[in-house]
């Protein structure tokens, strides 16, 4: 048979024939909007994959760049009139790419670290020292990707999961039991979000289990094509999450959530592996905003009557709005917090231009996407951007200068700030 031999699930290959090239995906694709070049549009990439599989194209650095320049924001798949699962198609194609890839040494190193919890903790301690060293020697103006070193988040001195108890029981009556899947970002960078989540769930009377041996969700690996490398972590997490008895599995990171809810079951299905356990776990996975918004009335939210309310705008992370289908819950929470006023930005569900390694690999495209997002944020006049993903938080804060004076926070941080100190 003519064509490049690739082991794709048949249902995914079939999608290639369902793309009848209408081009409607151009309107939502962040990389196309910035470049206005067809090979950066979903339709272009789909057709390029099709031609590769038919044997008309070879694996080249250009092909690799085209496939890796997709943000996997999923906007095209959500819109596609023919229902082509573009995200899934590209993920499978990236597996193919992984065999030949010219992947840089840095990325290989990051993957090796993410695969191992202990290695990751050690690396982050080293990075904390390195980060200080870099800022001291290179100065605060030097950049990593588009982000000035000084605007990168500071790595925490100690892992969040090592610091907090593995099981937290509420003081009063127990209203439920949840597993908290913290993700690497909350564990090692944004422990402020972790503490906010614990405080809020605690106030709701939740018993919280934070399994200490949970590992990276592996989305950064399997979304980049490193599928084989991602499997040990995936199985380990499934073991833990399926073992502990709980009403729900709470995530505060949109990417972890989307991986557990959708990405991992689909991945296992595409690999022809058993998906039963992954689907059982997926059913229980909830973004923290979903849990909280249901029981918002039970929280002791401070009434702030003085002064003009502070303008806050909300950025929908791709992995939250499309990955998990969550858009209303964070808004409901923000609208309830007194002293702030939710001002919607134009294109709130458009990608921020960050995500995993993207902004370091595709500096120009990423900068273009982020500057659109930033323009929309600035137009609202908001002083705070709330969001639900550490990747977005890192990107947005990194691209807003100190003088512009806009804080980027997780929705839970804002909510936690508004809670009274007294127990109910």
């Amino acid at each position: 048979m003519k064509g490049n031999k690739v082991v794709f699930p048949e249902s995914i290959t079939d999608d290639l024939h369902h793309c009848f090239k209408c081009g409607m995906c151009q309107q939502v694709c962040p990389t196309f909007k910035v470049t206005r070049q067809e090979y950066y549009a979903p339709r272009g990439r789909v057709q390029i994959v099709k031609h590769y599989l038919e044997g008309d194209l070879e694996l080249t650095p250009t092909l690799e760049h085209i496939l890796m320049s997709c943000m996997l924001c999923d906007a095209c798949a959500a819109l596609c009139p023919s229902g082509v699962r573009v995200d899934r198609l590209f993920r499978n194609m990236r597996v193919e790419l992984d065999k030949y890839t010219t992947k840089k040494l840095g990325k290989k190193l990051v993957f090796a670290i993410l695969r191992n919890g202990e290695r990751l903790r050690k690396a982050s301690r080293l990075a904390r020292i390195g980060q200080k060293f870099l800022v001291d020697t290179l100065g605060t103006n030097s950049k990593m990707g588009n982000i000035p070193l000084a605007r990168l988040p500071r790595i925490t001195s100690e892992s969040f999961r090592q610091k907090v108890p593995e099981k937290i029981t509420p003081e009063g009556k127990r209203s439920g039991r949840v597993i908290y899947f913290t993700g690497c970002a909350t564990d090692l960078i944004y422990d402020d979000v972790g503490h906010a989540v614990l405080r809020i769930l605690g106030r709701l009377g939740m018993e919280i289990v934070i399994p200490r041996d949970q590992v990276c969700c592996s989305a950064p690996l399997f979304l980049s094509g490193a599928v084989k490398a991602s499997l040990p972590n995936i199985f380990k997490n499934l073991d833990i999450l399926d073992r502990v008895d709980a009403d729900a599995i709470v995530v505060d990171c949109a990417t972890c959530g989307a991986a557990l809810k959708k990405g991992i079951p689909e991945l296992l299905e595409d690999l022809g592996l058993d998906t039963e356990r992954a689907r059982r776990v997926a059913k229980k996975v909830k973004d923290v905003s979903q849990i909280v918004s249901e029981r918002l009335d039970e929280l002791p939210i401070q009434e702030n009557l003085s002064g003009e309310p502070l303008a806050v705008t909300y950025h929908d992370p791709c992995h939250l709005v499309r990955g998990m289908g969550v858009a209303a819950d964070p808004r409901k929470i923000l609208s309830r917090i007194s002293g702030i006023k939710l001002v919607e930005m134009e294109g709130s569900s458009e990608c921020c231009g960050g995500g995993g390694y993207y902004q370091f690999d595709n500096v120009d495209i990423s900068a273009g996407i982020t500057s659109r997002k930033k323009r929309n944020i600035m137009a609202t006049g908001a002083h705070i951007v709330a969001t639900g993903c550490p990747g977005c938080r890192l990107t947005l804060r990194g691209n807003i200068s100190e003088d512009e004076n806009i804080e980027v926070l997780h929705t839970m941080q804002l909510l936690s700030r508004s809670l009274t100190n007294k127990r109910t």
Binding site: H17, F20, G23, M24, Q37, G44, Q47, P81, G83
Partner: protein, 456 residues
């Protein structure tokens, strides 16, 4: 193409705006039609001057040049079927000016139709041409194909809003046509000649369009019919009743069922046809027009008439029409959206023909129509991998055309001729018309380098 020529072209636009790597060429080998062919090089010029310089080289070397916008064409207009150069205009995407006093806008060809709509709407104006692809289609592309859309029923098509153009000719000369005035009878109307020429006469690099005040109010009506013939007869009755809806759309049972299967919007699947009608204008006159239309609908045995109470309900009703395309696309891997158009009085006869031809060839055809202007979009769904089925699909397309012509209609209402309908041109245009057209082509493009392999 020679290496030196490629280098020369690359120097004109700059190395980052020229590419000949195979992956990139694949992305410029198609539009929404089935035929494909890779060009030899793709260029992304930024100015009229650059395009003029490109054309001088192409003219000297006799290299085919295919201009392109978003590439959403349905008839192969932007497929570089003879290879050569693709001039992609998407980087020329500035709205140069919007003049609220003289109601005009001047734009570059890469501006997206909907982006212009949004900008002029902020100023209380409207640019009526609204092709279904408006969220991605470029202004250059919509001018080159004289695009229409649902609301062209009341407002007319692209040519009716076009005042002037800048066009680079085959030899690199720059032609300016028309101007910023609504009235202009100076010389031949070259603006209208270029409009709809599908890139065969020149490359459009600047566009002046007319705007109109945005209608202050609108109403939406849905009517369900147990018999398709009543449904299409109602269309003719409405058009004869004295009020002109902005849009008047028809869906047959096949389409309605497809929508219900994919999207479950709660449409009645026992009906043979549904009409969706939008009226716009001044609040004071809308009530009267609705009554007129309601009467026509009742006269033609509408089983059920829904008049939307508010914009949210109107939006819900229109969702059915917007879901129709996607629903049809999801049925089978491939779709051809036909475009035959007949006088509105012949709508019923044409619909009957389409259904009969589809059934005879055992091909699935759903009928969508911008019914008010007789513009049918029979949606033919199939799997191109099945050779026998594809042959029958082609037979259906071929049979539709003489039927439409026999009823006084045309090959194409709005999708264009391109590659898809080029073989049928001779059935509609007689030898005199064809030779005048060829003469014009020869004058503009004696070497035949502009979008060759198409209808002229």
């Amino acid at each position: 193409m020679r290496h030196e020529t490629k280098k020369e072209l690359e120097r004109i636009v700059g190395p980052d705006k020229a590419t000949d790597s195979p992956e990139h060429l694949v992305a410029y080998s198609y539009d929404a039609y089935t035929e494909e062919r890779r060009p030899d090089i793709v260029l992304f010029p930024a100015t009229t001057e650059e395009i003029s310089a490109i054309m001088k080289v192409a003219h000297r070397e006799t290299i085919p040049v295919t201009p392109r916008g978003a590439g959403t064409n349905l008839a192969g207009e932007s497929v570089p079927i003879r290879g050569g150069i693709v001039v992609c205009l998407t980087k020329m995407d500035k709205i140069l000016s919007i003049d609220a006093e003289s109601l005009t806008a001047t734009v570059q060809p890469g501006v997206i139709n909907l982006d212009l709509q949004r900008e002029v709407e902020k100023l209380g104006m409207m640019y009526p041409p609204d092709p279904a692809s408006w969220a991605v289609a470029t202004m250059g592309g919509t001018v080159a194909t004289n695009a229409g859309g649902p609301r062209t029923l009341k407002y007319g098509v692209t040519k009716d809003y076009l005042l002037g153009l800048i066009v680079v000719l085959a030899n690199g000369d720059v032609l300016k046509t028309g101007g910023r005035t609504l009235k202009n009878v100076t010389g031949y109307n070259l603006t209208t000649l270029i409009c709809g020429s599908e890139g065969t006469l020149g490359i459009i690099t600047e566009i002046i369009v007319r705007l109109i005040p945005k209608p202050p109010a609108s109403r939406t009506i849905r009517a369900d019919f147990m018999k398709l013939e009543d449904c299409s007869d109602a269309v003719a009755a409405i058009m004869a009743s004295g009020s002109v809806p902005a849009s008047l759309e028809l869906m047959d049972r096949f389409v309605v069922k497809a929508v219900e299967r994919s999207f479950k919007l709660g449409l009645p699947t026992d009906v043979e046809g549904i009409l969706l009608i939008q009226l716009d204008g001044a609040e004071e006159t809308l009530g009267r027009e609705i009554k007129q239309i309601e009467k026509s609908l009742i006269d033609k045995n509408a089983r059920n008439i829904i008049i939307a109470k508010d914009s949210a309900e109107a939006e819900r009703l229109w969702l059915a029409r917007r879901a129709a395309g996607p629903a049809m696309m999801r049925m089978r891997p491939n779709i051809i959206t036909e475009d035959v158009t007949v006088p509105v009085s012949k709508l019923t006869a044409m619909i009957r023909k389409v259904t009969e031809i589809g059934e005879r060839h055992r091909i699935q055809v759903g009928i969508l129509a911008h019914a008010g202007d007789g513009n049918l979009h029979p949606c033919i769904v199939f799997d191109k991998r099945d050779d026998d089925e594809y042959k029958r699909v082609q037979a259906v397309c071929e049979e539709l055309i003489p039927e439409a012509l026999a009823l006084g209609g045309t090959l194409s209402g709005e999708h264009g001729i391109g590659i898809a309908k080029a073989p049928f041109l001779k059935f509609e245009m007689d030898t005199v018309a064809l030779s005048v057209m060829q003469g014009i082509k020869n004058y503009f493009d004696p070497k035949g380098i502009l979008n060759p392999g198409k209808f002229v």
